[in-house]
Symmetry: C2
Subunit: 292 residues, 2 copies
């Protein structure tokens, strides 16, 4: 049980965390701050936070739990802004989709206090953003990756693990490097491909007409293309080496398929499709008690 | 109202059509045939057909409505097999995902009777196949593209339009060429990309581990990769020119994104993502009363 959550960034991820924490009875009070005073006010009106803070520092002051839920590119400035408010036992976490850059930023910003931070990536989200879409169920049944470093205090890691577990999540520990390599493959590349596919469609003279004909396959395939541009700009840039590696691997597989199609090689084409089809049919999402 | 539906091919598409037709009270009797006697038997056991036919010809005999719901590559042989059973006013339709090849095959197979066929593509499906998944609601609220040629009899086209409309579909008429160009963009390319993405993931040494970390973005993006290999082999080959054109257009957009990422050009990258994000956020699936 925490006395006070200092929520820095009242968006979909932060707001959903506050709601989940409240519902689980794990926090007494939530003090929130967002860059836009309007957003902070809205978070209070929606009952997601109790008190509006005038600054990130004010939100962190007196909080024994601080969640930094800002665009990853703002992590360093945010941590610098709050570091003087952090009491020795404050548990600090982020929710960024990339982890090497967050860890590097935190090392610079927090210096001697770097061990207080437990870098976290809950594998949850929506293609819509903003406090209006905050949802107490967003994290339930989902995986949360914690990426401790050699400096991370082990009791902080334990508390973070217990906290996410209490919210109904399955907690995994990985290094920041392992995390970024894995999520380049299963998340960042799919987003990149969905952006490229929608752009390719819209660039065509008949693009709008074609879009009107698209069905449920396109709907699901392209859902993530509607994601928030600044967030995804930051993710793709922060993890650029891994993303470009994955994109190259993808291109090779696309070329293999294209070559079979161009050659009319039915047997080889079917073998490649069957490989994908079987792999995807066998896959089920981990800790999947609450599909959304 | 039809006296008898001759269903040639008792799979997901054909079985769902029979169920929808029955429920709408538009047919008195369904005679079915599938290449595998087991499938035909199962269709009868499930109440989807009334009578098992021993051949495609037998299913078409005495039917005033014939639905050919076989893999597109089998269309020509199937139409050849049934042509002598077609009475002058029999309405013949297919449900293939490509239309130029179906029209060419039908022209060869049906010759003087070619005008009886109304080529149809209902924009509906699932990533699972087979009679067990047949669903009376599969087509409801969906678009159906009819692709008549200069030979198609206009009363057949009218009857086909009325029939699909009565099943709750929105019917559009296009040329086979327009159809194939459009569906290369909105359906065939997304499938190709999903196959390539899943193969790229699985080829990696850590692929299985990565798959275990994937969340709902990957789930939806890759759903269509589980589609039936032989069906998609045939679609990609039948529509190869258009598919390869779309794949080239996609590659150019992917390269544009990769270049911005490699150059660290945040502004240009965000602009490209924003374009995709806005286009996808504004899109809604046409005639969408029954999302599945």
């Amino acid at each position: 049980m925490f006395n006070q959550l200092g929520l820095v960034g009242c968006g979909l991820m932060g707001g959903s965390f506050a709601l989940a924490l409240r519902r689980a009875g794990l926090v007494q009070r939530v003090v929130g701050y967002s860059k836009s005073p309007r957003t902070t006010e809205r978070a209070r009106q929606l009952g997601i936070i109790d008190t509006e803070a005038a600054s990130a520092l004010a939100a962190a002051s007196g909080s024994d739990l601080v969640l930094v839920a800002v665009p990853v590119a703002s992590t360093e400035a945010t941590l610098k802004a709050i570091r003087h408010a952090l009491a020795p036992h404050t548990l600090v976490m982020d929710v960024g989709s990339t982890k090497r850059d967050v860890v590097d930023a935190a090392r610079r910003a927090l210096q001697g206090q770097f061990g207080m931070l437990v870098p976290a990536h809950p594998i949850a989200g929506k293609e819509v953003s903003g406090i209006e879409h905050a949802d107490a169920d967003l994290y339930r049944g989902r995986q949360v990756i914690l990426t401790p470093t050699e400096k991370t205090l082990s009791d902080q890691l334990q508390r973070a693990t217990a906290l996410w577990t209490a919210l109904g999540c399955k907690v995994l520990h990985m290094s920041p490097e392992q995390h970024d390599a894995a999520f380049a493959a299963v998340s960042h590349l799919p987003h990149l491909l969905a952006f490229a596919a929608v752009n390719a469609l819209c660039q065509q003279p008949e693009g709008q007409h074609y879009l009107g004909l698209a069905g449920s396959g396109f709907r699901d395939f392209s859902r993530i293309a509607a994601s928030e541009p600044t967030m995804w700009r930051d993710i793709l840039l922060a993890n650029r080496e891994e993303v470009l590696l994955q994109s190259s691997a993808f291109r090779r597989q696309l070329e293999a398929l294209e070559q079979r199609i161009a050659a009319g090689d039915a047997e080889a084409l079917e073998a490649l499709i069957a490989q994908a089809s079987q792999a995807r049919a066998q896959w089920t999402m981990a800790s999947h008690s609450n599909p959304t």
